[in-house]
Subunit: 132 residues, 2 copies
DNA sequence: CATACTGTATTAACTACTTAATACAGATAA
DNA sequence: TTATCTGTATTAAGTAGTTAATACAGTATG
């Protein structure tokens, strides 16, 4: 589990959910993979185990994960679930982005260039090491 | 002042600020234009005048607006201020968007198409009442 | 068995935000 | 003048949401 830099504005449990959402849509988790326990994650992130539990509850409700009684939670084994998550993720990003830029007077060409540049920038920041 | 649909997650005063930000970057406010009073806005939005005041305080601090003693606030008269606001607005949108899509495995071409489609969709929603 | 780990439920405490009640100084207009 | 509008400041109370403390039941391992 990598560093997670929490912002102070959004609830932590939502940021934890977002963290796992990214892992899921980024294919960084294997279907059926056993997840660390709530307490373990809490220790590593420096937050309360209940906050992790809150996040896990919602993820379980969304069927991202499943839990057998008194056993560590596991990632869903349904590939369609992940696919749906990816689709929703992209749709939301595109929708919000377009809504944003349509507020101001800017051409599609200008936007395309800004995006292309930003992709270069962010790629450079990673130095080509996409993995953790 | 149009309808503003507040979400229950974010503080109202921040949503009020965002509302004015959009108006500013969208050139919907004229430089130096007189704004409605805090009490008036509060009545129309169904919120407390102090909440509006909170928003206005921050906007004044950011120099989006200015206020002479005991007079209604006015939109900044500095075009560079608006320009800067627009730039920050676009930069933030692009940055967040690229960060989002880089999470998942998707090509630049696919993204471009999704954006183009979404622009069409959102334009249709406006019924073509967009400027030329 | 004992120990240390799971997940879960309940309840309390805390925090940020909002609301509210006032008050005051100055502007504006009848 | 008076009445009503501005913005601003202070203080207190209320509220919702988040986080935290704690306890309990079951599992795994020795």
């Amino acid at each position: 589990m990598a560093q997670v830099h929490f912002n102070s504005r959004d609830p932590i449990y939502l940021q934890v959910i977002d963290y796992f959402r990214k892992q899921l849509v980024g294919d960084e988790l294997i279907l059926g993979e056993e997840l660390p326990s709530r307490r373990q994650i809490a220790r590593q992130l420096g937050i309360n185990p209940n906050t992790v539990q809150r996040a896990f509850s919602e993820m379980e409700e969304q069927k991202w994960i499943y839990t057998e009684p008194n056993r560590p939670s596991r990632v869903t084994e349904d590939p369609a679930m992940i696919q749906k998550l990816k689709q929703e993720y992209v749709e939301k990003a595109v929708k919000e982005f377009v809504a944003s830029i349509q507020t101001i007077n800017i051409t599609y060409e200008e936007i395309s260039e800004l995006i292309a540049n930003e992709i270069k920038n962010q790629s450079n920041k990673n130095g080509g090491t996409q993995d953790d």
